[in-house]
Symmetry: none
Subunit: 350 residues, 2 copies
Amino acid sequence: MNTSNYSVKTIEWQGDEVVMIDQRVLPLEEEYIHHTTWQEVGASIKTMVIRGAPAIGVATAMGMALAARQSTATSQDDLKRDLDEAAKGLFATRPTAYNLGWALEQQAKIYNESGDVDKIRVRLKVRSQEILDEDVAMCVAMGEHAAPLFPKGARILTHCNAGALATAGYGTALGVIRSVFKRDPTIHVFADETRPFLQGARLTAWELQQEGIPCTLITDNMSGYFFKKGEIDAVVVGSDRIAGNGDVANKIGTYMVSVLAKEHGVPFYVAAPTSTVDLSLTDGSQIPIEERDPAEVTHCGSRQIAPTGIGVRNPAFDVTPHQNIAAIITEMGVHSEPYTESLAAAKKGK
Amino acid sequence: MNTSNYSVKTIEWQGDEVVMIDQRVLPLEEEYIHHTTWQEVGASIKTMVIRGAPAIGVATAMGMALAARQSTATSQDDLKRDLDEAAKGLFATRPTAYNLGWALEQQAKIYNESGDVDKIRVRLKVRSQEILDEDVAMCVAMGEHAAPLFPKGARILTHCNAGALATAGYGTALGVIRSVFKRDPTIHVFADETRPFLQGARLTAWELQQEGIPCTLITDNMSGYFFKKGEIDAVVVGSDRIAGNGDVANKIGTYMVSVLAKEHGVPFYVAAPTSTVDLSLTDGSQIPIEERDPAEVTHCGSRQIAPTGIGVRNPAFDVTPHQNIAAIITEMGVHSEPYTESLAAAKKGK
């Protein structure tokens, strides 16, 4: 998969540097940050220079390749010790993102096998690029599987950003929308702005605009109004982690949208690679929910919007129960109830 | 009713000056504007130093009292001429505000009756204070009627600002919360920030903080998470207009909250004076929904948060169907289904 076909470059190797577009300053500025250490990559994950589970997975894999390069170890044991330390540091950045742990496991497989330390360094870098390429290919596959689910001229609501910027490229939920749009240019997208971090207003609206896909930006409290008026035909969102029973963790507010979709008989779809599916969790109650800095809620960017000292909660994710989900689309196909069976089969590559 | 018991002073007489808190700069600045002329009051209504129909009504009545003081007339005819001119000027500030015209009528009754000009001056000032006190008394009555509905230690969600700042004082939905808190200081309030205008973050959070009522500010897409965790026991909101069948128009996002409340078996209450009930409308579909400036959505305050040129919808209100409403509380009592009967009776003063 040649990712140069896609205009949005989320993350890539440039020589021995990991380069990410700074998603915090989009859409008003388009800035790229260069990383030469795993600590810098960790900081960029934590501060949301890069976000979205698949993109975090790629960044983590690349961060481990940088860690191997930083290490002066000449023995495999020393290298393993340094890399385990880096893995621990990277793992602590975003506890809900399943792909982060998955990417660490991918790299651990390489450096836990016996071998020459320099070859291990090379293989870690190669593997990180493979993870990127595989991720784009999976997104395109998801789009192809999902596109037939949408009626002609569909008005599709999405929440947060599950786009090229949330992945290595193309996107999961926005990848589906890209694939639908390729077949039917009469579709229309509603994008929730997605407070507090405004990924919808800043990133999804920007990506859709870049692609020329018709888009209406709304605040998060408006979708109910449009559901009630019959102006939304389908919902598609991404996911940060999916339990074995099909319960889906995704950006805060996703659950609310699923309840509205159910109330109005509108199908609610989730698009995510099988790497997001965590069969070790029997249901969504076991998914840890990260609570982030209260300043994200009391501020809008750098502007304070609430009184100083006010109490705040800031859960970054919520869990949508499988009962509210019409189908989960992975690179393997379109999966429906019972998810315990369909997701397990998808994970096995059936 | 002694309004000095309440810490949030929306508008009041200080000697011969009308003092208003400047709602445009809350919560970061607490500035009070002193008015000695009806023209200054008119400018403050027009520029939204003060907002909310009841509060505007009080400001108008006080502006007329200032106009009488400004007038050097010694005959009633001359005074009437000066006051008619002031009334015309005040009416032009927000010509659609129902309470504005009503307040002018109240004052015209006084100065159109024959009498001593100095006595008229006094009576205009007294009447303006009565209008303020009556509005607060209605809010307090609503609170007293509603308070027994809430369980001990209730965790109450509210949306937008239906507080002291939207009325002459005390508030409708926030008035209910004040009354509940007076009986049970263990309650806790969740305040939706209420994009795009952020009345929840700016005004409700501030009012609750002033009163020492425990409050947690959340973004509009978070309430679903807390409903699901069983952390919300009741919802109370205000209303901009109520149809004869109990359908309630209120700030955008209210409908969404009502659907979540229904999904989780949580009672959803509306607090509003009977003057909000419009029996000429048989149901909520007849309530016109204002769409406001797209810049409110693409910006947060003065800060642009979305790409230039993106499509936007910005409905300011939505309609919550009466089926989702456990009770409507007015100054007359607690009303429930069938609302066609209970609201008609309340309007008749039964």
